[in-house]
Symmetry: C3
Subunit: 173 residues, 3 copies
């Protein structure tokens, strides 16, 4: 069962994903894609970490997401990936379009065969005026295309606003 | 009964809030948090004012929102606050984190005991690429956290797009 | 029957509109409002064009939208306009407020009498922090007001996220 959780900044999307992982009753592996590049980022990461149960396994992987999903997914385990947006940003920052295309295809290809429960979290950023700059535009494009491709492959897609879920596809939460 | 109305710029959120206030059948006190800092802002304010019924009481308060809510709420009255986003911006501009924390706590604390009808309006701004600059990021963070905390405390939460309401929590409109 | 499709960048709104046009079973006229001002824009346009059925009639009109709607609408035809946001941007770039007001009124006035099927696509950009600059603010204001006015006049309004439709008004898709 694949869950995709979409929401804006501070929308409560991570909290909802963590609730779903807890309610699965399965042991949880948390895949963190963020890299503590600066002090602000380090604070956000430690804020998130403090909220998570101590017994959750943690895997940090900024780029090779399909690989760690294949290695860690198991029929008796719940995998939580938080978040795809940072993974995509990490790939865009490499400035290597081939690598980006490979990682994206690998992710989309592996989803259908992952056993167990998988909860994917991603940031919806396409509903504002896109700021100037090619990177912003490419990011918004890539994120939008990725979300469409993921939404086709996931059994449930949920949009979160102010901590409240709106299920766009699949069974209600 | 506490209503939270969320929506983007020019989404019709104020108009919906005003409709709810009118339909309550109660006398209305309108709490305006905006300050006419420039000509454009003054025009927006007078545009909003022209639309409102003349018999509504008006209270202008940029900062001490919990105070004016406690003073004005009454079991036979509807209070309309438009909007929380500007109140939060006013507090952020003070550059006084302690005051911000105090006002926020005071607001969240007073809600449970306010008598009568209260309609809160706020701007959803977390669904775009966050522009550069620490103030923008802090604003988006604070607004998102505030919306989550308010949504927990309100009996109904409604997202407005193109003037059309989507109820996220509570009874349909 | 008037359909309004709203969605963010790369949300799948054009794809949904094209699906509705195909499913109408009617011959389709596609009204493109975009102008290939630079290489990136030309690529986006050719990407969209490659996806559309070759038998669809194409009308390119950046400004006089009401005119081409009146000329092309027919009870046995489906008109697809993609997208209103670019039309509005084209009008704003003229820096001629009178022309903008005229074209907007003409569009809103003609909708009630258009025969056949019409599908309008527009970009929702009011849910982020509005970037600095008067043009960005005016654009967000104009787009928001336009969406409210259109939503009143359309029989169905649908918000698209990650390719998934949420019907805000009218019959489910």
């Amino acid at each position: 069962m694949l869950d995709l959780i979409l929401g804006g900044a501070r929308s409560g999307k991570s909290r909802l994903a963590e609730r779903l992982a807890l309610e699965s009753g399965l042991p949880v592996t948390y895949i963190a894609t963020s890299q503590p590049l600066d002090k602000e980022m380090a604070e956000r990461i430690s804020h998130h970490r403090a909220r998570r149960p101590a017994e959750w396994a943690l895997v940090e992987e900024p780029l090779a997401l399909a690989n760690v999903l294949r290695e860690n997914a198991h029929q008796d385990r719940c995998i939580l990936v938080d978040c795809l947006t940072l993974w995509l940003t990490n790939l865009l920052m490499l400035d290597d379009p081939l690598r980006l295309a490979e990682e994206r295809e690998a992710l989309l290809d592996c989803l259908a065969t992952l056993p167990g429960r998988v909860v994917l979290v991603s940031n919806e950023t396409g509903l504002g005026v896109v700021p100037l700059g090619e990177l912003s535009r490419r990011y918004v494009d890539e994120a939008g295309w990725l979300h469409q491709a993921l939404a086709e492959r996931c059994q449930r897609v949920t949009f979160v606003m102010a901590g409240l879920p709106m299920v766009l596809k699949g069974e209600s939460i």
